[in-house]
Subunit: 204 residues, 2 copies
């Protein structure tokens, strides 16, 4: 929180972050329609004027929140990758990477992003803003999965199976939106990790 001794720039950064986190909470809990600058500002405990100083339009707020969601997810992925590197090699590592990936798609961040993607499907202006961001997110997510698995992306089988794993994770995220799908998901993750590991390590 702001204090009289805190430099102005730090206060501004903290306000911005509170607004972005409130946007994610609003989107994940109450959906697209409720996530307006006014509602988000109130939730963040920020005046509407201050919120509009940071984000003049709703699109500015939403796209900045999407960027923030991705950065948060990537920080988490880096921490996961570090934890995975302490796990023994082999199928245990593959399973830890797949489980970490899939969990990131069932977080409130995914549920918030889903609200944005779904709205953007029918809103060409928003879509045009987020498509280049999503393409960049996709490339970075793929590279991080490759590094965490410790595999060679120049092999086309490896490349496509890692892509498929990210698509599977997205599908499992979507299956968790209306009900708690965690028990079924756990079994799918175990089976896919075993199948993926065998396919990645098969002689070619």
């Amino acid at each position: 929180m702001a204090t009289p001794h805190e430099p102005k720039q730090d206060r501004s950064r903290a306000t911005r972050q509170r607004l972005l986190e409130a946007t994610i909470d609003c989107l994940a809990e109450t959906g697209w329609a409720a996530a307006t600058v006014a509602v988000v500002a109130e939730r963040a405990g920020v005046s509407r004027g201050a919120a509009q100083h940071h984000f003049p339009t709703r699109e500015d707020l939403i796209t900045a929140a999407l960027e923030y969601m991705f950065e948060t997810r990537m920080d988490q992925a880096k921490a996961d990758a570090l934890a995975v590197s302490e796990v023994a090699e082999g199928v245990a590592r593959t399973e830890a990477v797949v489980a970490g990936l899939v969990e990131s798609y069932t977080s409130p961040l995914f549920k918030a992003a889903l609200q944005v993607w779904t709205h953007a499907a029918a809103d060409p202006v928003l879509r045009e803003r987020i498509v280049p961001m999503e393409a960049r997110f996709g490339r970075i997510s793929h590279r991080m999965a490759i590094e965490a698995l410790g595999v060679d992306d120049t092999d086309p089988v490896t490349h496509h199976l890692v892509q498929a794993t990210l698509d599977l994770a997205r599908g499992l995220g979507l299956a968790d939106v209306l009900t708690d799908d965690s028990l079924r998901r756990k079994e799918i993750v175990q089976q896919w990790a075993a199948t993926l590991h065998m396919a990645l390590t098969a002689p070619r």
Copy 2:
């Protein structure tokens, strides 16, 4: 279209179907917010009174449309399964089944359903109505995939890999919402089908 010689019951059924198809088009093209009974009625060329006779509330219209989407998808899946049965056995059959499944998740029906699911995530009343429907759809989709592949669902590896294939299809559907993802998807489907086929036919 209605004619003076058409029985009243048939006209009523045709009106209902026009309303449901217009609902799907509205959802897929203009998103959740625009798919109201009034807008749908206008698009279907049906009076608002007649629309409200069929569907007293928006929830009635949306849930009926979701049911209709599923029935349409299942009719398509049955036609696909028949076509697949003419394909040679082996990996060609597996690839045809996976490709058919994945394509069903990139249709306008999926894009319309995504609007409903995403809205229901933040709307407990709608969610309560569609969760039992989705559970039933999931069971039937799984059973149809098992039949099309001609595999034994009592084997747990088979069961989980077919579930994973449906989750992958859902994830690929979501990846196609903002941009045309068909080129990348084609490569993923081929690789997944090859890996799935090897895993399904591996000695256990």
